[in-house]
Subunit: 475 residues, 2 copies
């Protein structure tokens, strides 16, 4: 790509939206500062037509393109590549067509999650995905990584919450899949192929997202149970009891609380005694009958959760429980959970991961891992936090030395894979998980992925080197 | 493919499972008797290895393969092609690994839906998909068409209900995507590409399916409302009121009841007076508190539905309502709805379709269609039955002459497409919807589909001529 091509880009999308030199600054590295690159330019298109114009020129000149939105992913999927064009979707941030009856909203790819939350809440509706980076994450990146978070249990991940998308293809053609339909069997499921493709097949520029009615009240509790299999039993008991209204079912072990209390010495522990297996549970009440305070001021949904837990307590399936009595107590429970990044990253060296397991294999995973760690590094500490309700575990290990990181990561993957688990539940592959992809992904699946990539991006210009390991590495 | 190849097939899967001549009988045509063909042979493999052996030979010899399971699809997607090998999955009918805690089951592709219902019900669980052909439809075909039915509103379609699949690729390689995970972001979403591909990319041989707890009670009602926009309002009111427990929300107009009563003169009409917009509504109660009879013998879930409907009645949003008081009354309500095929197919000529619309466009669709029909054929009658809760309408028109069928189908598609609707909601494309696909599908989407087909089935042997129109027809 020559200087005259850069001039063409200036003419196409506006000169001030073509950033070179120092102006590229924030886009030359991702927020982890692990990955960085020296892109030709950073482009900030304002419309789908702008993106199409960029892609046509990139296609003609064989120039790599790296789409980026919030730039706060954790695997390096959006990090700049030297010699590439970085395509920032941040200016495409319009929210339009909030349709209360049809329960959907049409958005551009650069809308920030927290902004979307705020705008739709004015209509009594919720876009029911939330996670720590909600103040920076944008819809385009969330779709490209099929983002998850704490409410997947009830509402699903981005794939489940998305009715339609618009994609600019590598050659600049615009693929309009902006469906508002709940059912559509007219051909291959292209939508789900672009969702989770981490920008390697095209640029997602817009989406139709599902909305849900905002729960009228929440019942939130900290609960401890004898073991992880009792946790799964409790989840199923609560799901049946509430008709599937469990919004969050999050696991924190005693070690998590201990570390949290070291970091926040003013915090109060949730229970008088320390317990090994602790859960943050939240039930969302949609119905007025569950959310209207009774004469004594209590909420029926809270009373009902108390009753369900009391049954389990009598049977020994619950050891301890505290139900939030007001919004402050609820916020305190969530703050403890949402400090996960600070809590787990506060010691080095560490082995961090994002595995998923079949729901009924989680207890076996922990016991097998304890055994494996004993063999590799008896002095290692482990500390987990998990979206237990959907089988997603962030299992952090602190080895006694950096040289043990790789063998421990291999052991985690060995154990998870042998149980039918995944080495990447919600964070995606990007660059950081390419070694795991090479080692662990079914070679037949890798071959099919490679065929798809070659067919849909024949010049290999879309976010090259991410997501799919080089073919030489796996045959 | 020569006689010696047929001998190889006999050696691979067992001689008695290679059917030639008369023995091919039932597989030479589909149940509609619209489509028929003269296949080389019908093969009945007993295992994934058998299927792989067949595909390797078909691949080596460039022989087309048509996978078929229940053979009761409605678009000709599974119909035999002359010169092809028909691959019947009917012998692969094992159900294994019902996992109550993890809420999943592993099945082979030839399991019949009704059989699966019966087997999992013994565990207090439900596979929550149901439709008229449940006694013949098999999991493989249901996945290949991404089947829908009456409970999609609450539980989703096959894509939503499937955690993992096993696919034999065109070259005989086995792609193991038998995930049991609720979250897995390790690469492209291959699973959803094979689901709904109607056997044009590979042969689905097995699946991991989600199960749900069986509702402990149902509240079922026939309700009439002033118009279709009130119907959508009522749906959202009931969803909020019950926390999303609406299992079915089915629409039948007065004309449907009138025709039903002509065909079944002994039946009793649901209401004393005739109303234009009628709904069959069913709520499923998971919680014991909703399903335990009170002192007067009534079920709380029924009482609650009565209260919700009474509120709407007072506001004029509901005109009439009858709640089933026992299992017999519930069965009667469902029998009226499930006679849809008999009711709609009982007159000829007819224009039949399977459209999907955005939820808030349904009323506008009906009024625009009335206007269009007035222009094309003022004597035409229209009669609809709809899975209203998910926007899927089977809009049947009886023209005054056969020559008007095509213009009317075009008009239905014109109106639906202009509103962002689809010409195929749940039945798929097969052969019968190829003209609609050619006329209506976004050409960019058709091109991407063609790229995928060419990359994943380079010899073009998988169910050729189905789903994707010839490239010559759309450029």
């Amino acid at each position: 790509m020559s200087t005259s091509h850069i001039e063409e880009l200036r003419a196409a999308i506006g000169s001030k939206y073509v950033l070179e030199g120092e102006a590229r600054g924030p886009w030359c590295h991702d927020w982890t500062h692990i990955y960085s690159g020296d892109p030709l330019a950073v482009l900030r298109p304002g419309s789908t037509e702008d993106v199409a114009a960029v892609m046509r020129l990139a296609h003609d000149t064989g120039t790599p393109v790296v789409p980026v939105s919030g730039n706060t992913g954790v695997t390096g999927g959006g990090c700049a590549l030297s010699g590439s064009l970085v395509l920032s979707l941040d200016r495409m941030n319009r929210i339009h067509d909030i349709r209360s009856e049809a329960l959907l909203v049409r958005v551009e790819a650069g809308v920030i999650l927290e902004t979307l939350h705020a705008v739709v809440s004015g209509h009594g509706l919720t876009f029911p995905m939330t996670f720590g980076a909600k103040g920076s994450a944008m819809i385009g990146g969330m779709l490209s990584t099929n983002a998850g978070g704490s409410n997947v249990l009830r509402y699903g991940n981005m794939r489940d919450l998305c009715l339609g998308i618009e994609v600019v293809l590598p050659n600049g053609d615009v693929l309009n899949l902006m469906s508002e339909l709940r059912k559509d069997n007219s051909g291959y499921d292209l939508k789900n192929l672009y969702i989770g493709a981490e920008g390697t097949l095209g640029v997602i520029t817009g989406a139709v997202l599902k909305l849900v009615p905002t729960p009228k009240a929440f019942a939130t509790a900290m609960v401890s149970v004898p073991g992880l299999s009792e946790a799964l039993g409790l989840l199923n008991h609560l799901q049946t009891g509430t008709g599937g209204a469990v919004e969050a079912f999050e696991y924190m072990p005693a070690a998590y609380f201990a570390r949290f209390e070291e970091l926040y010495p003013d915090s109060r522990p949730p229970f008088a005694e320390s317990h090994e297996v602790n859960l943050l549970i939240e039930i969302g009440a949609l119905a007025a009958r569950d959310a209207t305070p009774t004469e004594d001021g209590s909420l029926p949904i809270t009373t009902y959760l108390e009753e369900l837990l009391a049954e389990c307590f009598e049977e020994g399936r619950v050891i301890d429980a505290v139900i939030a009595q007001n919004a402050t107590q609820r916020a305190e429970m969530w703050a403890r959970r949402e400090a996960a990044a600070e809590v787990t990253l506060s010691r080095r060296p560490l082995v961090n991961n994002d595995i998923a397991l079949p729901l009924d294999q989680i207890e076996a995973f922990f016991s097998q891992m304890a055994e494996r760690l004993e063999g590799i590094d008896p002095d290692a500490d482990a500390l987990s936090v998990a979206h237990l309700g959907d089988g997603n575990i962030h299992f952090t290990v602190y080895p006694s030395g950096s040289s043990l990181c790789d063998p421990i990561m291999e052991a985690v993957e060995d154990v998870a894979t042998a149980m039918g688990g995944s080495f990447s539940a919600e964070h995606g592959i990007g660059l950081s998980k390419l070694p795991s992809m090479r080692r662990r992904k079914d070679p037949v699946a890798l071959r099919v992925m490679h065929q798809l990539k070659a067919a849909m991006d024949p010049k290999g210009i879309m976010n090259p080197g991410k997501l799919i390991p080089d073919q030489n590495d796996w045959g």
